[in-house]
Structures are given as structure tokens and as C-alpha cells.
């Protein structure tokens, strides 16, 4: 389906994308002391679906978990929290890069309200800043995708250029990209919003304007051609609709729901944050439900590590063994087993066996000299112990 940027046609049929009915944009002019800005306001019921998630799922998601995954501040709940996504004239930043569209959204009055602030002319920029200041004053926090590294700094630069202080920098910020990188990387490879929409939410955009064409759309708009700009508005709108659903999707693995690679990855984050019991449950769950043997091995290995830290040595060894059985090419479980056999079970022959397996893997895979050196030391030591044991055994036999 290809829509032409024809204003007449656009007013006729509301374009629809995967269940989200997007009305044709209506821009209202708002005047601020600094200049005028155009505002498009759309309200969506919270049961709108974005793939297999609906907007309301975000309201139910445990935000403390998401904050942990995203290394951001805990917002408590999503009341007065702004979802943020901007469109700019360049990715590299720099003083000549305009932020020409700022999309903001929030859950208000049982609905999801989207407000898109469009800069109608470069010289009206102060007006946009006024509008943003007003928005930020009423907000408690920000949710974004890559906002911490991109959107917020760009907005701050604009404030700075105008000799003002940005109100966004001081707000607690939940950057979903940070969490998505940690949780979905194993499965997704590259982590960008549209890829995650397909993979995690289960929805695909049709006829979406490529991000690289957004700057040109604005330049065209400044020259009086607003066709491409409609597509930018829609692109930005979809980005904003993806934010709460992605947030909900991000919270699931931490609750043990979802594909096991995600659960495994979320478990690792929780473990690092000190939530070891929950992490252990997640890893055991991931290991038992994993489809991919490699994922199962990693989950077992992680579980083994957690148990070891809790001094539950035999359980830890059992997990390590399970890991080697699931995927014998993972080096860490072999090392864990070697240590276990050397120090706990004192089965030196088995320890040497494990070392031999590990050596083969390192020979093929690892460039680390230090790891090899350590292994050789271990082998020598275990051999000494084995020899001593044999000597003791033979002298005992005599």
C-alpha cells in the first residue's frame, strides 16, 4: 500500500497501520512569547494494540524492574511521565542541527495522549522551547528510546544556543534502548526500534518514512510542501506508540515470561543488581524452557555461578554439568567443573579431564594468553596432586 502525500487523499481515508487507526493530522497553532509552534494532539484508548502488546500493558509493568534493566531512575508509576521522541536535521548533532519535531506522550485520563510539537520556521525556535519548558514543568520523568544519548542532548543544545537552560536534563530518565540492548541483544543482534517492533512486539510498519529522509521533509515543509511532513508526523507517532508497548515487553523477561534468551539476559542484569534469588529462578526457568541448547547452557552456567556465590557447591556443580551437557563448547562450565573436582570432590582424574576439554576449546577459540597460562598452571598442580595421591595410595597399599 503506497499512499501519496496528497492532502486531499489524506483527509479522505484515515491511514491504518496494524490496528492503530491514525487520523489525518490536524495542526493547531500555539503562540508563545518566543514564537509560534504547531501542535498536533491525538488521543488513543489504552487498549490499542501494537503487535501483541497493548498500551495499557505499560501501566501494569513493574517499573522498578524496568528501571533496573535500563539503569535509570525508578519513576514509581507512569502518571505525569513523558514519552519522548524527536526528529532532527542531523544525527551528528552540532550547532546547526535543528530539533524540528518533538513528540511527547503521556497517560492521562485513562487514555494515551500524544502531542507533537512542530517547528514551523527556524526563527520561531524560541516558541518551541517555551512549549517544551511548559511540558517539562508538569512532568516527573521521561521515557525514551535512545533519548539519553540523542534526543535530550539535542534539545539541551537548542536551549543552550538560545542561552537558556534545558528543563529535560534534570528529569529522571528511563532510556529503553539501554534495557533493550541488555535484554534483547542475544536474540535481536542489532537493536533499533523498528527491528524490535518486528521481533519483540510483532508488528511491521508499512510505508514508513525512512529516518534519513526526515530532515529533507522538514526542508520541503519550510518551502511550502507539507506532503512529506505528514509522513514524518506519522513516523514519529508510531515511534511514540511503540514506547509504552516496548516498556511492557521489556518488563516481561524480568518476570520470567517470554523467550528464554531474554529471560536469561534479564536474569544476568538482576544478578548484577544483587537480586540473586530472583536471578536464579530466572536462569533455572530459562534453562528448562530453552529451545536452543546454547542458551540452555548459558543459563545453566549462570545458575551455576549464582549457586557458587551462595556456597551451594553441589548444586552449582550440577548446573555446570548440565551446561556442559547442553553445549560442550562453552568454556566456563568446564573450568567450574575442573575447580569443583580439584577442590571439593578431589577427583583429580576428572579435574584433568575437564582441563583437557577446556584446553581444546581455548585452543580453538580464545586469544587470551592469560587464560592459557592459568590453565597450564592448574593442570600442573592437579597433576602433582594426582601423583601425590597415587603415591600415597601405593604406599598405603604397601
Amino acid at each position: 500500500m503506497v499512499r501519496r502525500p496528497d492532502p486531499a487523499a489524506a483527509t479522505g481515508l484515515p491511514p491504518s497501520t496494524q490496528g492503530v487507526v491514525v487520523p489525518a493530522p490536524r495542526l493547531d497553532e500555539r503562540r508563545y512569547p518566543g514564537g509560534r509552534v504547531l501542535l498536533r494532539r491525538e488521543t488513543f484508548p489504552v487498549d490499542v494494540l501494537r503487535g501483541s502488546f497493548c498500551l495499557a500493558d505499560a501501566l501494569a509493568a513493574p517499573l522498578s524492574d524496568v528501571a533496573l534493566l535500563c539503569a535509570g531512575g525508578d519513576l514509581g508509576d507512569l502518571g505525569d511521565v513523558l514519552f519522548l521522541d524527536t526528529e532532527t536535521t542531523g544525527l551528528a548533532g552540532g550547532a546547526g542541527t535543528f530539533v524540528f519535531l518533538v513528540g511527547l506522550a503521556s497517560f492521562t485520563g485513562g487514555a494515551f495522549e500524544i502531542r507533537q510539537w512542530l517547528l514551523p520556521d527556524p526563527c520561531e525556535e524560541e516558541g518551541l522551547l517555551d512549549a517544551l519548558e511548559e511540558e517539562a514543568r508538569a512532568a516527573r520523568g521521561i521515557v525514551s528510546f535512545h533519548g539519553r544519548g540523542f534526543d535530550v542532548p539535542r534539545i539541551e543544545e537548542r536551549f543552550l544556543l538560545a542561552g537558556r537552560t534545558s528543563p529535560f536534563g534534570a528529569l529522571p530518565h528511563l532510556d529503553l534502548l539501554v534495557g533493550a540492548r541488555r535484554v534483547f541483544r542475544m536474540r535481536a543482534g542489532r537493536v533499533n526500534l523498528q527491528h524490535l517492533e518486528r521481533l519483540v512486539l510483532g508488528t511491521t510498519r508499512l510505508d514508513d518514512l525512512p529516518g534519513a529522509e526526515c530532515p529533507q521533509a522538514w526542508y520541503d515543509y519550510l518551502k511550502g510542501d507539507d506532503g512529506p511532513m505528514r509522513r514524518v508526523l506519522e513516523h514519529n507517532l508510531l515511534d511514540l506508540l511503540s514506547l509504552p508497548t516496548l516498556l511492557a515487553a521489556l518488563a516481561q523477561p524480568a518476570a520470567g515470561v517470554g523467550p528464554s534468551p531474554d529471560v536469561h539476559a534479564a536474569g544476568k542484569v538482576l544478578a548484577r543488581a544483587g537480586l540473586r534469588d530472583r536471578a536464579l529462578d530466572l536462569q533455572r526457568g530459562a534453562a528448562s524452557r530453552a529451545v536452543d541448547a546454547h542458551v540452555a547452557a548459558r543459563a545453566h552456567d549462570e545458575a551455576s555461578r549464582l549457586l557458587r556465590r551462595q556456597r551451594r557447591a553441589s548444586e552449582s556443580a550440577a548446573e555446570a554439568l548440565a551446561a556442559t551437557m547442553a553445549d560442550p563448547s562453552l568454556p566456563a562450565p568446564w573450568l567450574a567443573l575442573a575447580k569443583d573436582h580439584e577442590h571439593r570432590t578431589k577427583n583429580f582424574a576428572l579435574a584433568l579431564e575437564c582441563c583437557a576439554r577446556l584446553e581444546r576449546i581455548l585452543f580453538l577459540r580464545s586469544r587470551s594468553e592469560a587464560r592459557r597460562r592459568d590453565l597450564h598452571k592448574r593442570v600442573a598442580r592437579v597433576e602433582r596432586k594426582l601423583a601425590a595421591e597415587n603415591a600415597a595410595a601405593s604406599s598405603a597399599a604397601e
Binding site: 535509570g72 531512575g73 536535521t89 542531523g90 551528528a92 548533532g93 552540532g94 550547532a95 546547526g96 535543528f98 520556521d121 527556524p122 526563527c123 520561531e124 539519553r148 544519548g149 535530550v152 542532548p153 539541551e156 543544545e157 536551549f159 543552550l160 544556543l161 537552560t165 534545558s166 536534563g169 534534570a170 528529569l171 529522571p172 530518565h173 528511563l174 532510556d175 530532515p215 529533507q216 522538514w218 526542508y219 519550510l222
Partner: protein, 870 residues
């Protein structure tokens, strides 16, 4: 020790007969001054710890002026403590705010990172405490190596100050985390013009706190900022000042430079205080000259040096003639080795300057052998050149200072401001090409209490021989003038684009009083252009990033890493332009006298893989330049000849290398190099000589064809008098039979990719340029050619001057016979009566890799007599 060396020089049969001139300069005693009363005690103590308890007069003078907020240019010889001139006021400014500044006052939830004890926020420095009272400084050095050197010595100096001084190098090698720290919290940012242009200014909002508090901008090695590079840097500094004003600061500029004829002019032009520089004519071009923007924008020049100079002997050494018939002389390298071994034997610390990286390695190897024969450790002899990793260079510098290194062989990398103290003997293997360089190198000899000796060992090269025959050029010669043209049409327009990106221009706002700003802005705001004019401002509305498309000097500052396959470490670096000469596959790469075989050269990946071998030969590669015209934009027919301007493709290849045996110098083989040609499109102008004239002059005949080269190099030498630039920015090419016409053609083209209109300006001024060339050849007193006219006989052949004289006379006659076209708006400033002090090209043999901040004149060497009266 010195006596023994002098005795050797006077009596030794292998030395004495070859010394053609022994010149003695008397010692000068130091003029001391006290530390200024405004110096805080802690800084006095810091300098005392580094051994400075008293200043020299010029240091005091400079520091006082800088402290008072005046722009200063310090122009004094090597090792006269120029660094102190700026470190003293800068440190004082930094210390002055000891109590005020809040360490890491940034408080951002969520996005805070802590690095090195400083809290930094990724997005900008918006929330730093307002910089009231805080002072910061920006140091600009022309090379990365120099930046790191200076940072190291700065760190040493500031250790133990009551408040830690945060200084860092910001360049392409700086890791992202450090960049963030520097942006938010560095007191002193050390960088280079390239980085300032493309990395800092376009992102000035991220550097807001630096620009808000910027008190001093230090520009070191100012003499390297000439020609196209200088013109670009001048515009970058104007942009810097514009940004500073936006953020509310107005920094004081402190320049340091080696000897120059016109330091005040150059510094003034660099910061745009209205002075114009180097239009060759010294004609007061109206209101612009000397009319500083404000009285305070004047640059104070300090040339009187208070540092002591020791008694210094300058010896000119001409190697013996080995072949009477051809006049060929002994290899300068071999002779330099002989002189150096006498110095080594006398126990004198010796510095040998060699002209190329290859000769550094060869000579290092020779001298190590000599040291071995003398029963010394071979480690007392070291090489020193660009491309060595900083750690190794530091080691050599330390060795020189503490005396454990007795001899160093170096390129002119040691000529720039690197502190190694004084040495007993300096040996120059070949004339370094410029009076200023020669003096700079000779200035490395001598210590406070001991006389120094500098020996210039001449090569067979015509220019070297000329200098030896006319020693006054060196002994009394004046330093070169630096010429820049910040108002160059293309360069200026480029920087207006960059400036428009950085900050929208208001209507009527000029970039440093250049009337043409509005014209350029209007052009950029035209439909399809990158600017959008609305609300009384020009806004940048384009997806491009202009600084990326504007190159300051056409050189790529990236390096090729040389990787040692056995030790598994990066051994050294080489700049990308030179890489095909040194690390092509099959090359022998010399390093500290050791030889490495280049197994693989990954051209795209910028890595060369080498393995240490024991080898009795080294390799030498030669460049081949091919210039092809691609479009003719304009032309003029003079009957006997025609001139054109247009665009050319210049392709440089390195097709072959030779294997040369150590000591004997015999050629023991050759190899092919398969590397892609470096192709560059640029602007050019060319003269096609008609068939009649060519026949009449018999240029097409053998033995006379070289004359054309002489004319071309004369063109290159004369042009800067009419087109404001450094002669290194214009290249010439002569073809006896051009591919298109089968007739002689002389080409001049811009060295910078895409050109900046220099060749076009030559086309426009061709008539006066030809007339000047003819006058020079006609009035030159030499017999058959000298570096002051078409070039030495060795380069242009026995008939060179004669043919050039007649050819130029014919060209001038023809050009006078043709009525002048009106070329209104193209015309660059043409000087009325140039009295260029000129010399022809010494001739380029193999792209000789004279190193330096930026090789302003790779292709040749030249002398400039004192500027004539206006």
C-alpha cells in the same frame, strides 16, 4: 673535548681541506628579569621545582602583556623558553580561581558518569556551575606529537600545585570517555587546528563551559601557519572568536613562532585584526592595513630575546670531488658520518640532521657501527624522527638531556619546539631548504657555558652548492615572509558555511568585517542552497555537515600503523601520504638502525606488517606524477602561445623501488610496487607554447628540454608575489610534449584537492607574472642559471638559462601584443611592482620527505633575500 674536535677539524686530512668557511658568532649573555609581582607563590615554586628561578627579559615582557590581556607574538630562537611565556600567565589565571571553582558540580539524575573523579554528563555542560571567575585555556599545536609532548611537560610542571590542573589532549586519538571529561571539566585543552575546525567548533554547544570561560588561546609554531593552511586557520580562528563572543568570552591570543620576517602581520591576520599579510608588494592596500578592529586587538610582537646564546661556530663543509668530469662529490651522508665520528671520538654530544626518514635510518646504522668501533655501546647512538611512537621519542629526549645518548640522527622533527637542551655539535646533512630552518637547526648547538658548533655538510645538489658559494645567504640572510590570504574567495566562502552551521548569521552580520560575507550568505540562501533566511537570520537548513567537507590543508592527518609481527606490537607510524614510499610490500623499513621487512601493506586498513630481518640493503621508492587536464574553463590566445585555466587530475603513483646496499650505495635490485594511484582533482592553469616558438627555441631538442623545467620552477617561485600564498601550495609541472598537443606545456596547479583558486589567479595575473619572470632572468648576474633564477645548471642543463631568457622574452612580447581582456571580478590583488626575492626550485628527486609541522614546501628548497624597500 671541544679543543680536540677543533684540532681535528683544522688539521685532520679528511676534514680540514673540505671546510670552505669557518664563521664564528660571539656569545651573548642573558638578560634576566624577575617573576612578575602578580605571580602566585605556588606557581613561582612550581617553576623553581623545574629549575626556573629567574625569567629572561622576553619571557617577562610576554607574560606581563598576556596577563594584561594583550595579544602577544613571541618570536625568539630555539630553546629560548617560549613555552614559559604562555604557561606563566595561563597557570596564574587558573590558580587565581582556586577557591571559586566547584569540582564536579554537575548533578544530573540518571545520566551521570564519573570519570577520573569528575562528574560529567553526556549531553553537554549546561548544568555546570556558572563559570563566573573560572578561566580556561586552549592550546593549539600543529601536530599530534607536539601536543602530547607539551601535555607531558605541562603535567610535570603543574604537579604539586595546590589545585589540580586538568589538562588533556583532544584529537582523533582521544577515547570517547576522555572526550566527555575534557569537554566538561578540562582547564587546558590541547588540540590542533584540524580538530578545532571539525571537532570542536561545530559542537561548540557541548563545549559551552570551555567557551564561556576561555581566557587564553595559545597558538604555538605560528610560522607553520602559512599559505593555504594558514589562510584556513585564520578563518578557523575568526570562527573561534565568533563562538567565544556568543558564549560571552573574548580570549587573549598568545602566539609563538620561529624567526619570521613579518610575525606581527601574520599574527594579526590570523586573528583578523584587520592587518593584511604577504601581498608581496608591501603596498598599503588602503584602509585595511593596520586598521585594527579595536585598538586592543593589536598584537604585540616580542623579538628581543633575553636568553643567552653561546659562542657558536658555523662551518660550511663541502665534500671532496670524486669525479672531476661530472663534478660529483662524495655522498653527504658519508661525510656527515665522518664528521660525526670525530665528534663522537672527542666525546661531544652530537645531533645530526638528515633530510629524509630513510637517511635517518641509514645514518643511524652507520653511526652505531662507528660507536661499536670506538668501543662504545651502540645504544649511545639513536635515531629520532616522526613516526616513532611517543614512548621511544621520550626515551631519546631523556637520553639527550641526561647525557646517556651521545649522538642522535634526526629529521627536522627535532627542529620544532621539543626540549632537549643544548648540544655540542649539530651536523646538517644537506641544506635544509630555508634560512629559518637552517638557523633553527644550528640553534640547537651550544650550551650556556660551552660553545657550540654547527656543520653544514653540503650535498652535490645544486642548491647546496649555491649556498656554499654564496654563504652570505645563510649567514646574513633574512627569514622568510609568511603569506596568508584569509579573504581568498573559496576559502572564505567555505568558512562562512562552517560558521553559519555553528551559529546563525544575523542579517548584516559580517564574519570578521569581511564585506563579502553578505554576498556569500545570499548565495548560500538562494533556492537549493543550505541556508534558510527567516526572521532576520540565516539558519543552516541542510543535512550536510560543512566542516567535514572543508579541508584545512588537503593533507590527511591519519596515520598508517606499522605492526611488528614477531613482537606483536605497533612499532611505529607513518603518515598516509608517505606510506607508499616506506611501507610498500617488499620495502625494508628502518627503525633505530634495525631493519624490518614489510610483508604486507593493508592500504585500506592502514596497517603495515613487518618482520625484523638482518639485511644489508635498504629500499628507496620514487614517485611519478601525472597531470591530465580534464576541463578548460577559460583561455586566452596570444598567437605565439596560449594560456588556459581549468581543472586537472593529478595522479601520483609509486611504481618502483630500488634496493640499495649500505655503505657502497650500489643498486642491488629493484621491485614493483602495486598500490593504487593517489588521484586528486584540482584547479590548474597552463601555458601551451605554439609550434613556431617551440621550434625557434629548439625546446623539443634533447639537452634543451630541461629549460622548460627551469621556467616552470621560476613560475612557482614568482607566483606567490602576485597570488598571496605559500609557494608549497602551488605546484608546477612541465611537459615537453603534452599528450594533447604534442607541444611544450607548463602547468601550475593547486596542491589542495579541489583547489582554492590559486592557479586561476595565476591565469588572471599571467601578464605581470611573465614580465616579472623575464626581468628576473634578464637581470640575474649568474652565468648559466642559479637558484635565484631558473635554477642551478645541474637542474636545467647548460642552455637552461639561455633558452628560458629567450622564451620568456618571446612570451612577454607576445602577451604585450595582445590586448588585455577585462577580467573584473576575478582579479585578485595584483601588486604594482613586485620585488620578489626569488629562487628556483632545488628540484624534487623523490618527494623527499622533509618532515615538520606540515611540509609547506616538500618539493624544493628556496632562499629569500631580504625584503626590498616598499
Amino acid at each position: 673535548m671541544l679543543d680536540r674536535f677543533f684540532r681535528d677539524l683544522r688539521t685532520a686530512p679528511d676534514l680540514a681541506p673540505n671546510i670552505v668557511r669557518w664563521h664564528k658568532e660571539a656569545a651573548q649573555s642573558a638578560v634576566f628579569a624577575d617573576f612578575p609581582e602578580w605571580t602566585p607563590d605556588c606557581i613561582r615554586e612550581a617553576f623553581a621545582r623545574s629549575g626556573v628561578t629567574q625569567l629572561w627579559s622576553h619571557q617577562r615582557e610576554a607574560a606581563d602583556l598576556a596577563h594584561a590581556g594583550r595579544h602577544v607574538a613571541v618570536v625568539t630562537p630555539t630553546a629560548s623558553g617560549k613555552t614559559l611565556c604562555y604557561n606563566l600567565p595561563v597557570l596564574t589565571a587558573l590558580m587565581g580561581e582556586a577557591g571559586v571553582k566547584v569540582e564536579g558540580g554537575v548533578k544530573v539524575e540518571g545520566g551521570v558518569k564519573v570519570e577520573g573523579g569528575v562528574k560529567v554528563e553526556g549531553g553537554g555542560a549546561a548544568d555546570r556551575p556558572s563559570g563566573r571567575g573560572a578561566a580556561r585555556a586552549l592550546y593549539l599545536f600543529p601536530t599530534k606529537a607536539l601536543s602530547r609532548d607539551q601535555l607531558a611537560s605541562f603535567a610535570k610542571l603543574t604537579k604539586g600545585l595546590p589545585r589540580p590542573v586538568r589538562a588533556g589532549v583532544y584529537d582523533g586519538d582521544t577515547p570517547p570517555a576522555t572526550r566527555r571529561t575534557l569537554r566538561a571539566a578540562a582547564d587546558v585543552v590541547v588540540t590542533n587546528p584540524y580538530m578545532l575546525h571539525a571537532g570542536i567548533l561545530p559542537h561548540h554547544l557541548r563545549w559551552a563551559s570551555l567557551f564561556r570561560d576561555l581566557r587564553y588561546v595559545v597558538v604555538d609554531e605560528m610560522h607553520t601557519l602559512t599559505g593555504v593552511f594558514g589562510s584556513n586557520v585564520a578563518n578557523v580562528l575568526r570562527r573561534l572568536r565568533r563562538i567565544c563572543r556568543h558564549h560571552g568570552s573574548d580570549p587573549t591570543f598568545l602566539f609563538c613562532s620561529a624567526t619570521l620576517a613579518n610575525p606581527g602581520e601574520l599574527a594579526g591576520a590570523l586573528i583578523g585584526n584587520g592587518a593584511q599579510v604577504g601581498d608581496g608588494s608591501r603596498r598599503g592596500s588602503g584602509a585595511q592595513v593596520g586598521s585594527g578592529r579595536t585598538p586592543d586587538d593589536r598584537v604585540e610582537v616580542i623579538t628581543r630575546c633575553g636568553a643567552p646564546t653561546p659562542e657558536r661556530h658555523l662551518l660550511l663543509f663541502n665534500p671532496p670531488v670524486v669525479d672531476e668530469a661530472s663534478g660529483a662529490r662524495c655522498s653527504a651522508l658519508e661525510e656527515a658520518r665522518r664528521v660525526a665520528s670525530h665528534a663522537l671520538r672527542a666525546g661531544l654530544q652530537t645531533l645530526v640532521f638528515a633530510r629524509s626518514r630513510n637517511s635517518v635510518e641509514v645514518l643511524t646504522k652507520y653511526l652505531k657501527d662507528t660507536a661499536h668501533e670506538l668501543g662504545l655501546d651502540t645504544d649511545v647512538v639513536r635515531g629520532y624522527r616522526g613516526g616513532y611512537l611517543p614512548k621511544l621519542r621520550r626515551e631519546v629526549e631523556c637520553g639527550l638531556r641526561d647525557g646517556s645518548v651521545r649522538a642522535v640522527v634526526a629529521t627536522n622533527a627535532l627542529e620544532l619546539g621539543i626540549d632537549v637542551g643544548g648540544l655540542d655539535v649539530v651536523i646538517m646533512t644537506g641544506y635544509p631548504g630555508r634560512v629559518a630552518s637552517a638557523r633553527q637547526q644550528a640553534g640547537r648547538s651550544g650550551r650556556r657555558d660551552r660553545p657550540g658548533t654547527a656543520v653544514l655538510v653540503a650535498r652535490s645538489d645544486p642548491l647546496d652548492q649555491y649556498v656554499l658559494q654564496h654563504p652570505e645567504t645563510l649567514l646574513e640572510g633574512h627569514a622568510e615572509r609568511a603569506a596568508i590570504d584569509p579573504a581568498n574567495r573559496l576559502i572564505f566562502a567555505n568558512h562562512v558555511r562552517c560558521a553559519a552551521f555553528e551559529l546563525p548569521f544575523r542579517e548584516g552580520e559580517l564574519l570578521w568585517e569581511q564585506e563579502r560575507t553578505t554576498e556569500v550568505l545570499e548565495g548560500l540562501a538562494a533556492p537549493g542552497g543550505p541556508l534558510n533566511r527567516s526572521g532576520g537570520r540565516y539558519h543552516w537548513c541542510d543535512a550536510s555537515f560543512p566542516a567535514d567537507t572543508v579541508s584545512l590543508n588537503g593533507f590527511d592527518i591519519d596515520n598508517v600503523a606499522i605492526y611488528d609481527l614477531e613482537a606483536r606490537v605497533v612499532l611505529a607510524e607513518v603518515d598516509r601520504q608517505s606510506a607508499p614510499f616506506f611501507v610498500h610490500e617488499g620495502a625494508i623499513y628502518g627503525h633505530q638502525g634495525d631493519t624490518y621487512y614489510v610483508e604486507r601493506f593493508d592500504y585500506d586498513g592502514r596497517r603495515a606488517y613487518v618482520r625484523k630481518v638482518d639485511c644489508d640493503y635498504y629500499t628507496d621508492a620514487e614517485a611519478e606524477v601525472d597531470v591530465r587536464t580534464t576541463a578548460r574553463d577559460d583561455g586566452e590566445d596570444f598567437g605565439e602561445f596560449s594560456s588556459s585555466c581549468g581543472t586537472v587530475l593529478v595522479s601520483t603513483t609509486v611504481p618502483l623501488f630500488n634496493k640499495i646496499r649500505y655503505y657502497t650505495g650500489e643498486n642491488v635490485g629493484a621491485g614493483e610496487i602495486r598500490l593504487p594511484a593517489e588521484v586528486m582533482g584540482t584547479g590548474a592553469c597552463w601555458i601551451d607554447i605554439g609550434p613556431e616558438l617551440a621550434t625557434e627555441m629548439r625546446i623539443l631538442e634533447g639537452g634543451r628540454s630541461q629549460a622548460l623545467r627551469g621556467v616552470a620552477s621560476l613560475l612557482r617561485a614568482v607566483a606567490p608575489a602576485f597570488v598571496r600564498t605559500d609557494r608549497g601550495d602551488l605546484r608546477v609541472h612541465a611537459e615537453v610534449r603534452a599528450a594533447a598537443t604534442e607541444l611544450p606545456r607548463i602547468l601550475a596547479y593547486d596542491r589542495v584537492p579541489n583547489g582554492v583558486g590559486l592557479a586561476e589567479a595565476v591565469f588572471v595575473c599571467l601578464r605581470p607574472i611573465l614580465a616579472a619572470m623575464r626581468e628576473i632572468v634578464a637581470t640575474c648576474a649568474c652565468d648559466k642559471g642559479c637558484p635565484s633564477c631558473v635554477g642551478p645548471v645541474g637542474n636545467v642543463g647548460p642552455y637552461g638559462k639561455e633558452v628560458a631568457r629567450r622564451l620568456l622574452a618571446a612570451l612577454v612580447t607576445a602577451s604585450r601584443a595582445t590586448p588585455e581582456r577585462s577580467l573584473q571580478d576575478l582579479a585578485p590583488p595584483i601588486s604594482a611592482a613586485p620585488r620578489p626575492g626569488l629562487a628556483a626550485d632545488g628540484g624534487n628527486r623523490n618527494g623527499g620527505d622533509d618532515e615538520g609541522a606540515r611540509q609547506p614546501d616538500r618539493l624544493g628548497a628556496y632562499l629569500l633575500p631580504p625584503p626590498g624597500p616598499g
